[in-house]
C-alpha cells in the first residue's frame, strides 16, 4: 500500500485544526474568526471521512456526518453573518477585542 495512510490524514487534520484554533484566538475581526471556525469544522469533517474510509467502510455514518457538518456550518454562517451585520450597524466595527460590554 503506497497510498497515504490513516495517520497521514489525522496529522494533517490536526494541523488544520490547530491553525483554525490559532486564527480563532488571534484574529480581531469577527468574520475572520468565523472563517477560522470553518477551518476547524473542515478538519473534523475530514477525520470522519478518513475513519470511514480506513476503518469502517461498511458503516455509512462516516459518510453521512460530514453532510450534517456542512449543513450546520451553513446554518451557523447564515445566522452569524446576520448577527455581524446587525452588530456592525450598531457599533460601526467588528473588533472582538474592543467589545467587552459583558465585562464583570
Amino acid at each position: 500500500m503506497n497510498g497515504p495512510t490513516l495517520e497521514h490524514y489525522l496529522v494533517f487534520s490536526a494541523l488544520l485544526f490547530c491553525i483554525g484554533l490559532y486564527g480563532m484566538l488571534t484574529r480581531r475581526n469577527l468574520i475572520a474568526m468565523l472563517m477560522s471556525v470553518e477551518l476547524v469544522l473542515n478538519a473534523a469533517a475530514l477525520n470522519f471521512v478518513a475513519f470511514h474510509h480506513f476503518l469502517f467502510p461498511g458503516d455509512s455514518g462516516g459518510a453521512v456526518f460530514p453532510i450534517f457538518i456542512i449543513a450546520v456550518a451553513a446554518a451557523e454562517a447564515a445566522v452569524a453573518l446576520a448577527i455581524f451585520i446587525a452588530l456592525f450597524r450598531h457599533q460601526q466595527h467588528l473588533d472582538v477585542q474592543q467589545s467587552d460590554s459583558l465585562k464583570g
Binding site: 484554533l21 480563532m24 484566538l25 474568526m33 472582538v96 477585542q97 467589545s99 467587552d100 460590554s101 459583558l102 465585562k103 464583570g104
Partner: protein
C-alpha cells in the same frame, strides 16, 4: 366519676376564667370598660359557684378521700411514663379552690372600682382572668407535669400584671426581675421533675406520694453523688417552691412586684400565687416528710425568712412594701409549719394549710384596704398619711380587723392558725423554732400596728392630701366588708376536721402556748401604740441611736446589692464576657468568614469575566486540555491532584479570612454595603 355533679364537672372551674380571658381579651375589649369587667366577673361567679359546690360535696360526701374525677392522657413519653392532664380532688385542692375562687371573685369586684378610668381597664380584667385560670389549673393539677405547666402560666400572668403599667420603667424592671428570679428557681423544679420522672417512672401525684414510690425513691442511689434520689429531688422541687413563694435567697422579686396595681398585689402577691410554693410542698408532703434533709431545709428556710422579712418590715415606710415583707414573713411561717410536720405528728401540715387560708383572707383585706388608702391619698408613703380614720371609716374598721387578725389577737382568725403552728413546733420538739416564731409574732404585731397607727391615727402629715381624701366607692368598700367577715371568724371553723394527714387527735387551745403568743402580740401592739399613736420624736431617736444597724435593715440587708454584685462583677465578667467573646469572634467569625470567602472568591473570579469573546474561548480550550490530560494519560492521580489543589486553595482562603476575622481586621458587612 363520683355521681356528684359539681365534683364531676370540676374542670369547669378553670375553664370559665379561661373563656373569660379569651372573650374579654379578644372580643369584648373594644366594646368598652363596663362589658369587659361584667363578663370577667360573670366568669368568676360561674367558676366560684362550681368551686363552692364541689367543695361542699367533697367535704360532705368524700371527706378525706383522694379522687381523680377526670383525667386525660396528654403525653406518652414511653410505655411506662405518661403525662396526664386532669383534676385531682382532695382536701387541700378543694381548700385552695375555695380560697382562689372566692378571693379572686372579690378582687375582680374590687378592681371594678379601683381601676375605673384606667386606659388599660379591659386588658387588666382579661389578665386577671388569665391568672385565675392558671392558678386554678395549678391547684387542681393531677400530675407534677401539669403543675409545672400551670406554674409557668401563673408566672407569666404575674409578669404581665406586675408590668401592667408598662410605661413606667420601674414597673418594667420589676416585672422582669420577678420573671427572671422565679424562672431561675423553676429550673430547680424542672430538674427535680425530670429526676422524679426518671427514677420514679411516673408523674401523677397519687403515684408519687404513695408510700411504695417514696420508699423506692429513698432506696434509689444516684450514680454520681451516692445520695438517694429522694432528698435531692425534693430539695430541687423545693427550689421552685422557694422561688414562687419568695423564700429567703430568692425573695428579692416580691417587694418590687408591688409596682403592679394594688388588686394584683392582693390577689397574686399575697393571697394566691405566692402560696403556690407552700401548696407544692404540701402536695408532695409525703416525699418531703420521708426525707430528713429535705424537711429540715424547708423548716430552716421558712423560719429564717419569717424572721428576716419581719425585721425588714419594721423599717419600711412604703405601705405596700411593709405589707410585702409581711407577706414574706407569713409565707415563711407556712413553710416553717410544713417543716416541723412529720408523718407521725402531722399537725404542722394542717396548721400550714390553715394559716394559708386565714392569711389569704386577712392579707387580701390588708392589701385592699391599703389600696383604698392609696386611692384616697394618691401616695404610698406612710409618712404623708395620718389621721385618715375620720375620712375613711369603713376602710379603717376593716383594716383594724385585719391588723388584729394578723397580730394574733383572739378571737380573730390569725390567732388560731398561728397558735396551731406554734403548737405544732412544740409538739415535735422544735423549741428553737417555737421561740423564733414567737418572736416573729411580736414583730408582726408591732410593724402592723405601726402601719395602722401611722396611717389612721397620729396627725395628718400632708394637709392637702388629707383634705382631698375621701372614702372609696361602694364596689371597693363592700368587698372590704365581705372580706372582713372571714378574717374575723374563720378561726372558729374546726379546720383540722377537714384538712389533715393521718389521724389528728383532738386539739384544743393549749393556753401554755397561746398565752405567751397573745402576750407577745399585745406587747408588740403596745410598743407600736407608744411610738406611733401620736406624732413624737421617739422613733427617730431610736433609729438614730441604732443608726448603723438601722440603716442595714432599712436597706434590706443589701441582698439586692449582693445580687447585683454577683451578676455584674462575677457572672457578667467571668462567665458572660468570655462567652460573648467566643460568640462574637468564633461563631460570628465563622459566619463572616463564609460571607468573606464568597465575597473574595467573587471578587477574584470576576477578573476572569473580561467580556472578551476570545478569553472565554481560551478558558474552554484550557478546560478541554485539562480534561484531555486527565482522560488521556494520568487519569485518576491527576484528577485527585487537581481536586486537592483546588480544595487547598479554597481552604487557604477560608483560613486566611478567619485569621483576619479573629484579628478584627475586616468588616465584611460594611464592605458589602459599599459594594
Amino acid at each position: 366519676m363520683t355521681g356528684h355533679w359539681f365534683i364531676d364537672h370540676l374542670w369547669l372551674v378553670p375553664l370559665f376564667p379561661f373563656l373569660g380571658f379569651l372573650l374579654v381579651g379578644l372580643v369584648i375589649r373594644p366594646l368598652g370598660d363596663r362589658p369587659s369587667s361584667t363578663v370577667a366577673i360573670l366568669a368568676m361567679v360561674a367558676s366560684a359557684v362550681v368551686g363552692w359546690g364541689a367543695a361542699f360535696q367533697y367535704f360532705t360526701h368524700h371527706a378525706g378521700e383522694t379522687l381523680v374525677p377526670w383525667q386525660y392522657e396528654w403525653l406518652r413519653f414511653s410505655p411506662t411514663l405518661v403525662g396526664n392532664m386532669g383534676v385531682l380532688v382532695d382536701d387541700i385542692s378543694m381548700l385552695l379552690v375555695l380560697v382562689v375562687t372566692t378571693i379572686s371573685l372579690l378582687i375582680h369586684v374590687y378592681s371594678q372600682g379601683y381601676m375605673r378610668g384606667d386606659p388599660g381597664y379591659p386588658r387588666f380584667f382579661s389578665f386577671l382572668n388569665l391568672f385565675t385560670f392558671s392558678m386554678l389549673g395549678l391547684v387542681l393539677a393531677c400530675s407534677v407535669l401539669q403543675m409545672f405547666i400551670f406554674w409557668e402560666l401563673v408566672g407569666v400572668s404575674s409578669f404581665l400584671l406586675i408590668g401592667f403599667y408598662w410605661a413606667k420603667p420601674s414597673a418594667v424592671s420589676a416585672c422582669k426581675k420577678a420573671f427572671i428570679v422565679t424562672r431561675f428557681a423553676d429550673l430547680g423544679f424542672l430538674i427535680g421533675l425530670l429526676m422524679l420522672s426518671y427514677y420514679a417512672k411516673g408523674l401523677d401525684f397519687t403515684f408519687l406520694t404513695s408510700p411504695e414510690t417514696v420508699a423506692k425513691l429513698a432506696q434509689t442511689t444516684l450514680p454520681f453523688l451516692g445520695v438517694s434520689a429522694l432528698p435531692l429531688s425534693a430539695i430541687l422541687i423545693f427550689c421552685g417552691a422557694a422561688g414562687k413563694s419568695a423564700m429567703f435567697p430568692l425573695h428579692i422579686w416580691l417587694p418590687d412586684a408591688m409596682e403592679g396595681p394594688t388588686p394584683v398585689s392582693a390577689l397574686i402577691h399575697a393571697a394566691t400565687m405566692v402560696v403556690a410554693g407552700v401548696y407544692l410542698v404540701a402536695r408532695m408532703f409525703p416525699m418531703f416528710a420521708a426525707s430528713e434533709p429535705a424537711i429540715l431545709t424547708v423548716m430552716s428556710i421558712g423560719a429564717f425568712t419569717a424572721l428576716f422579712a419581719a425585721v425588714i418590715a419594721v423599717t419600711q415606710f412604703d405601705i405596700k412594701r411593709v405589707l410585702a415583707y409581711s407577706t414574706l414573713s407569713q409565707l415563711g411561717y407556712m413553710m416553717l409549719a410544713l417543716g416541723v410536720a412529720t408523718l407521725d405528728k402531722p399537725l404542722g401540715f394542717t396548721a400550714s394549710m390553715f394559716h394559708l387560708t386565714t392569711h389569704a383572707c386577712f392579707k387580701a383585706l390588708l392589701f385592699l384596704g391599703a389600696g383604698s388608702v392609696i386611692h384616697a391619698v394618691h401616695t404610698n408613703d406612710m409618712r404623708e398619711m395620718g389621721g385618715l380614720r375620720r375620712k375613711l371609716p369603713i376602710t379603717h374598721a376593716t383594716f383594724l380587723i385585719a391588723c388584729l387578725a394578723i397580730a394574733g389577737v383572739p378571737p380573730f382568725s390569725g390567732f388560731f392558725s398561728k397558735d396551731e403552728i406554734l403548737a405544732a413546733a412544740v409538739e415535735n420538739g422544735h423549741y428553737f423554732v417555737f421561740a423564733l416564731a414567737l418572736g416573729v409574732a411580736g414583730l408582726t404585731a408591732f410593724y402592723m400596728f405601726r402601719l395602722y397607727f401611722m396611717t389612721f391615727w397620729s396627725e395628718p402629715q400632708d394637709h392637702e392630701k388629707y383634705h382631698h381624701a375621701h372614702e372609696s366607692p361602694w364596689s371597693m368598700t363592700s368587698v372590704l366588708i365581705v372580706l372582713a367577715v372571714p378574717t374575723a371568724l374563720l378561726g372558729l371553723v374546726p379546720f383540722g376536721h377537714f384538712v389533715h394527714r393521718g389521724e389528728l387527735e383532738h386539739h384544743g387551745i393549749n393556753w401554755l402556748i397561746a398565752g405567751p403568743a397573745i402576750l407577745v402580740g399585745l406587747a408588740g401592739i403596745a410598743v407600736a401604740f407608744m411610738l406611733y399613736f401620736r406624732p413624737n420624736g421617739l422613733p427617730d431617736r431610736i433609729a438614730f441611736a441604732f443608726s448603723g444597724i438601722y440603716r442595714v435593715i432599712r436597706d434590706k440587708f443589701y441582698i439586692d446589692e449582693l445580687y447585683l454584685f454577683v451578676t455584674h462583677h462575677v457572672i457578667f465578667r467571668y462567665v458572660s464576657a468570655p462567652f460573648n467573646w467566643f460568640d462574637r469572634h468564633c461563631v460570628d467569625g465563622l459566619m463572616d468568614l463564609t460571607a468573606q470567602s464568597a465575597l473574595l472568591s467573587g471578587r477574584s473570579l470576576r477578573r476572569t469575566v473580561t467580556g472578551h469573546l476570545q478569553t472565554y474561548l481560551l478558558w474552554a480550550w484550557l478546560g478541554s486540555a485539562v480534561l484531555a490530560l486527565v482522560v488521556w494519560q494520568m487519569q485518576a492521580a491527576l484528577g485527585w491532584a487537581l481536586t486537592f489543589v483546588g480544595l487547598g486553595i479554597i481552604a487557604g482562603i477560608f483560613a486566611w479570612q478567619w485569621v483576619l476575622q479573629l484579628l478584627n481586621r475586616s468588616e465584611p458587612l460594611k464592605r458589602i454595603e459599599k459594594d
